[in-house]
Structures are given as C-alpha cells and as structure tokens.
C-alpha cells in the first residue's frame, strides 16, 4: 500500500471536470449552489446532457447504459459533480429502484423501465414505509389482492421521498395475508396516474417538501407489474436498502459543503478578522475535515476491496456520514452569525410551505443554510435510523 489515487484516476478526474465545465448550464449551476430542493426539470435536463455522453447512470450494467467505471471512478465522478454544483440528481429511480430492476426484474420489464430512468424521463418513488411501520418493514399492511390480470392495491404509504416528482412508484405490498410477515410481501410497480391514488405533501422542519403520503384506494395494477417472484419482495427490499446505506455516507456532498463553508468563513468576520482565523472555529472546522477524510478513506476502502464487507461497512459509514452532514450544516449556520438564524429559502427553489413575502437580510452565501441545517436532522433517521445501524454493526461485524 503506497499510493492513494493513481495517475489513471487523476486523468479520469480531469476528463470529467472538463466535460462538466463545458456542458453544465449556468442556470443549473446557480441553482445547484443552493443545494436544496432541486427542480425536477433541472434534474431531467442535466440527466439528458449526461445521457447523451453516456454518463447518466454510471453504475448500471453496461448493457443497460452503464459506463463500466470502477467504484473509485464513480466516486470521482460524483465528487466533480458536487464541486461544480451540478444538480443533485434524483436517487430513487437510478440508485435504488433501477438496481432492483436490473437484478431481479424480467428482461421485458428492464427494457420497459430502465431507459426512462437513464434519460431522466421517468421519475420514481419508493413505497416502503407505512404509518406505524418505519424501520420495522415486516409489519407493513398495504395489501394487493389478485383480481384477474390485476392486483387491486389498498393501503397507505408514507415518507415517500420526492413522491411529488414521481411518475411511478416501486411498492412493497402484502399479497399473502396468511404467510409469515416477511414471506407475504411482494414488489409492485405502480403508475402514479392510476385511479384511486391520492397524495398528501408532508411539510418538514425546513419548510420544504421532500416527503409525501400516498393513499391507495382499490388501485388496479396490471399483474405484469409484479417484480420477480410473488412473496419475494422482502429480499428485494433488503437488497435495495443496503444500496441506500452505502450511498448515504455522502462524502462528495460533505466535501462540497466544506468548500462552501470555507468560503463563508473567509467572508464572515469575527472580532474584526475573518472567521477563518478564529481558533475555535478553525478547530471545529478542522475536526470536521479530518472526520470527512477518515470517512472518505473508509468508503474508498470499501469501493476497492470488493463487496466482502460491503454490508457492514455500509452501516458504519452511514452512521458517521449522516452525523457529519449534520455537523457541517450546523457549523455553516454558526459561521453566518446573526444571519444564520434567518429562514431564507432559495428564491429559485420549488415547493415551499408558505410564502411570507419577507426578504431577510441574508447574503447570497447564506441562502438556504438555516433550512438545510434543520432538514439535516433527518439524515440520522432516514435510510434506516442510526440506532438500527448500530445494532446491525453489533450483530454482523462484532457478532454480539
């Protein structure tokens, strides 16, 4: 073990950076800077640009549009995207649903659904959680009853991330009420324009819209939309959730947050000097940078060592990564001083709970910072709460 990034890696980074510089529309980068509730239209536009280059879904198998990059290359690609303030892309379709489809779905289903994800034409939601069944998925109650060529779906899903952008939803439903809790669960793909579906936005602590509640009232779903085997939905969900955890370290995003924070700290003043020179601030920033460096290396270790410890390292980096996302956001609020407390949403952002008509005296570099810090409370909850991850670490790695 002697080196870190290879010469090939460095060349690859340069290629990616050049492409983004040449092709990222300035208005997307401007909105990307606020990093907050991206518009579907921005995500779709950028996906099309990337798709034209063949880069919109790097992790897909090559046959379905992937790039064949190594894990490290994908990491570099993601890092350059973040540093350039490209739109944060939809994750549900490409990163969560698509892997289930290209791993477990029929070839016909793959041909039907993967292209739309690749080009940014189709947005997906995932319908796992239900009221009363959060981390404990086995207790879900939404049921799908077979009726001829259809399943008829009735029930309720909640915490549906970006459901307001979605065309399709990948659902866990109970198809067998008699079987043991986990065995009776199947996976269905449902068109959200189907009759009998209503949506309720769930406004969150940041005054923004990320999650939704969906109500299904005898929604007919073609049986052809069953993914894989009836009753095997539980195993697909576990597969998907492991992917979610691995990505949730969010190192490139946190590194970009740090760049932004350093910019803020060079502008803001404390005791008549740049905040960046304040020893206490420096110490806390340094500690975040060090912890991010550690996390990055842990992720890169996982990406290069193959998947033998993918599951366990996933929990580990999820815990640490989600906590770091909170810390960096909180330190940005602090850096802003009095202005850190003002709620000031991205003027070009979407879906705000409430238009108060007020214009807070917040500088450009402070827009969205307070709201982001508030919403980051969710990072230690979603994707399997950190308590669940710690138990997983204890059971699987420590074998307690």
């Amino acid at each position: 073990m002697t080196s870190y990034f290879s010469a090939e890696d460095t060349a690859f980074r340069a290629e990616v950076r050049a492409f983004i510089q040449a092709n990222l529309p300035p208005d997307l980068a401007r909105r990307g800077r606020y990093d907050y509730h991206p518009r579907r239209e921005d995500q779709a536009r950028w996906a099309k640009i990337l798709a034209a280059k063949g880069w919109s879904v790097p992790h897909f198998p090559v046959a379905y549009g992937g790039t064949g990059w190594t894990g490290v290359q994908r990491f570099i690609f993601e890092e350059e995207m973040r540093l350039a303030y490209a739109p944060t892309m939809d994750r549900i379709g490409p990163e969560l649903v698509a892997p289930v489809l290209y791993t477990f779905a029929s070839e016909e289903q793959r041909q039907t659904y993967l292209p739309g994800i690749r080009t940014g034409d189709t947005f997906w939601a995932q319908g796992f959680s239900e009221p009363g069944s959060g981390s404990d998925l086995a207790s879900l109650r939404t049921r799908a009853v077979r009726d001829g060529d259809d399943y008829v779906v009735t029930g309720q899903k909640t915490w549906t991330t970006e459901g307001h952008h979605a065309d399709m939803i990948f659902m866990l439903v109970r198809t067998d009420m008699e079987a043991k809790p986990q065995a009776g669960i199947s996976a269905l793909m449902i068109d959200l324009k189907s009759p009998g579906i209503t949506r309720r936005p769930i406004w969150t602590i940041d005054e923004g819209l990320t999650v939704n509640e969906f109500f299904f009232d005898e929604v007919p779903v073609p049986a052809a939309n069953l993914v894989g085997q009836e009753g095997a939905g539980w195993s697909y969900a576990k597969f998907l959730l492991t992917n979610e955890r691995t990505n949730s370290a969010e190192v490139p995003h946190t590194k970009r947050d740090i760049v932004q924070l350093r910019d803020i700290a060079r502008i803001e003043q404390k005791n008549g000097r740049p905040l960046m020179e304040d020893p206490s601030f420096r110490n806390r920033l340094a500690r975040i940078e060090i912890d991010t460096m550690a996390l990055e290396t842990a992720v890169l270790r996982a990406l290069t060592s193959g998947s033998h410890d993918g599951g366990s390292i996933a929990s580990l980096v999820k815990v640490r990564g989600s906590e770091l996302r909170q810390r960096v956001a909180d330190l940005a609020v602090e850096a802003l001083g009095d202005r850190g407390l003002a709620i000031c949403l991205n003027p070009e952002g979407e879906h705000r709970m409430f238009e108060d008509g007020l214009t807070p005296p917040v500088p450009d570099h402070g827009i969205g910072i307070a709201a982001k810090a508030m919403f980051r409370r969710a990072t230690t909850i979603y994707g399997g709460a950190n308590e669940i991850q710690r138990t997983l670490i204890a059971k699987t790695v420590l074998e307690l």
């Binding site: 769930i202 969150t204 602590i205 001083g337 850190g340 508030m374 909850i381």
Partner: protein
C-alpha cells in the same frame, strides 16, 4: 436555603400554564405564527391584564414586586407552548428602564406594564455575533446612525431603546418607531419568531442615560433577559422530553413499545439529566441574582446560558431522533421545539461567548 416556589409564584405559574394550554394548541399556534405579524396582539393585552408584564419587576420600578424568578417562571410556561409573544424583549426593556436613572425612563415603565405601550430593546449588531457589548451604532448629538439586528417585536413597538456609541462612551437612547430615518427589514427566524433589522440613518433620539452606568445597566438588563430566556428554554426542553417519553411508550416496532429498548432508555436518561441540570442552574442563578455580588450573578447567568445552549440542542435533537421521521415534520411540536432551542442556543450569545464570560467573572470572584 429554599428551592420551593412561594404560593404566589405557584399561582402565577398555574395561571400562565392554563392560558398556554387553552390558547396554544398546535392549530391555534399555527394560525398565530402564520398571521401577518406572527403574534397575537390580543394575547399581549391578556398578559398585561393578568399582571405578567410587571410580575418580574420591583415595586419601586413600577412593577408588582417580583424579579428574575417570576420572569423565568412565566417564560418557562410560555416555552411549553412555544408562545411567540416577545416576552423576553419586554423583560429586557423594563429592566433596562428600571436600571437607569432619570424621570423619563421611570415614566415609560407604567404603560409597558399595563400593555398600553410597547418598547423593544435594540442593542445587538451583526458584528457582535450575539454579544450586546459590541456597539458600532453612532450617536452624533441626538442623531443615531447604524444598523441593529434580530430585533424582536419591532413591528409593533411604539419606541425603541437603542445603545449607541458617542466617542468612547455608550449611551442609551429612546427612538420613536416612526421617526424619520428609521427603516426596518422584517423577517422570520427559523423558529418562526418575527424579527427585524433596524437601520437608523440620522434618526432623532432622546438620550436616556450616558456615562459609566450604561454598560452595567445594559448587562444587568440582559441578564434578566437571559434568565427569562433560559426559563423559556427549560419549558421547551421539559415539554420535548416528556412528549418523547409518551411517544416511546406508545409507539410500537418489532412487536414492542420502543421505550423498552435499552439504548433509547439510556438516551432518555441523558436527556432527563440535561433538563435537571438546566433547572438546577436556573435555580442557582435565581439565588445569585438575589444576592449583591455582581460577578457571582454574571457567572451564574452565563452558566445557565451555556447549559441551555448545549443541553437544549441535545434534548431537542434527541427528541427528534427518538421520534424518527415524524419528528422532522411540521405537524408535530417536536420539530418546533428543536427550532426554538436551536435559536435560543445562539440568541444573546452562544455557549462559547458565555463560557468566556463565565470564566472572566469567575476569575474575579
């Protein structure tokens, strides 16, 4: 030594608690904070009528004879309901007027206590980052120029109490809210309080106090405000703690109430410890403020604020974490508890500022 409340104090607490329980259900509060000014002016009149606006002010100053304890106790109960009425600024304004010499100041207090007039303290500037002792606002004769930040309640104030610098001296000035040269930028803080930046451009002012007494008077008034703020934080923390406790007993996962999980029980125990330590430091501050050692009082007030700034965030964040997804929604008070505690943690100086202030006072003690 006596840590129990007097029967008058108990009655006062009951009165505030009943009011808050009646008027600050989730829906009612939502309506108020989403209203134009973000307040319920009719409630302020009620506060006056029930005597809360003078409860923490000495009789000599025109109040009903209480002090920091009464203010903190009122604020604690207001905190339970996340009430947005600017009670803490009122405490600062009245204590500040009571703390300086001069007839004008004394005359101004009566209408404040009766709720007939509103004066807000306008002391803080962006460059101070929460430290009210940083004053760049310039006084040129009786004309003030400069910008103050995070002024709560400015939108309905009749007058403002402004600190300004005249050479090396800090003076305290009265400025009419509608005076020429006064402009306001109104906005919301993340906890849905309405605040303003107040810019003065040669605005006409009346000098209320000057000389060596002013910084000390401002410090004492701010200490009263800080202790009320800490009381409010205690109310919010306590409400978040017990709401979380109730949720853990009710919410089932993996076939059992999640309150049976040991890791969550221990987290709750730590939250309880933070709440009890906050309560203890508040009591310690009551004791110190009742004494006549200014350094001891400074130390005790800053100690309470340090604890509120760290323990409040911890309790607020863990209350969300233990609730899971529902904790980050608008729809439950849990997220609002956190938002308020997050703002309080930084208001009038964060933990770092008050650690330094505590250490300095401690050295001289």
């Amino acid at each position: 030594m006596d840590f129990s409340y007097t029967s008058e104090q108990d009655a006062l607490r009951d009165s505030v608690r009943r009011f808050v329980e009646r008027e600050y259900g989730w829906e009612e509060r939502f309506t108020i904070v989403r209203s134009d000014g973000g307040y319920a002016p009719r409630h302020w009149a009620m506060f006056a009528e029930l005597g809360w606006l003078g409860a923490g002010l000495s009789e000599e100053a025109g109040g009903f004879g209480g002090g920091g304890t009464e203010n903190a106790l009122i604020a604690e109960e207001l905190g339970r309901g996340l009430v947005t009425e600017p009670f803490v600024p009122h405490v600062i304004a009245t204590q500040l007027l009571a703390g300086i010499d001069g007839e004008t100041a004394a005359d101004l207090i009566g209408p404040l206590v009766m709720g007939e007039s509103i004066i807000v303290p306008v002391l803080q500037e962006a460059a101070g980052r929460g430290d009210w002792r940083h004053v760049d606002m310039r006084a040129d004769g009786n004309r003030l120029t400069g910008v103050k930040t995070l002024v709560e309640g400015a939108g309905r104030a009749d007058n403002m109490l402004v600190s300004a610098r005249n050479g090396d001296e800090i003076g305290l000035y009265l400025v009419a809210a509608d005076a020429a040269g006064v402009s306001r930028t109104d906005y919301r803080t993340l906890d849905n309080h309405r605040v303003s930046d107040v810019a003065l451009d040669g605005a006409e002012a009346v000098l209320l106090a000057s000389g060596a007494q002013v910084p000390g008077a401002i410090d004492r008034a701010m200490e009263h405000g800080l202790i009320a703020l800490c009381g409010e934080a205690l109310g919010v923390m306590d409400a978040a703690l017990w709401a979380t406790r109730d949720y853990l007993k009710m919410r089932k996962q993996f076939g059992t109430a999640i309150g049976n999980f040991q890791a969550l029980q221990h987290r709750m125990a730590d939250m309880l410890i933070e709440v009890e330590m906050t309560r203890s430091l508040l009591y310690a501050a009551f004791g110190a403020m009742a004494g006549d050692d200014a350094q001891a009082s400074t130390a005790a007030v800053s100690a309470a604020k340090v604890q509120v700034s760290t323990g409040g965030l911890q309790v607020g964040a863990q209350a969300i974490q233990l609730h899971g997804g529902i904790g980050v929604t608008e729809e439950l008070n849990i997220s609002h508890h956190y938002r308020r505690l997050y703002a309080i943690a930084r208001q009038f100086g964060d933990a770092e500022l008050h650690l330094a202030r505590f250490a300095q006072a401690r050295d001289q003690n």
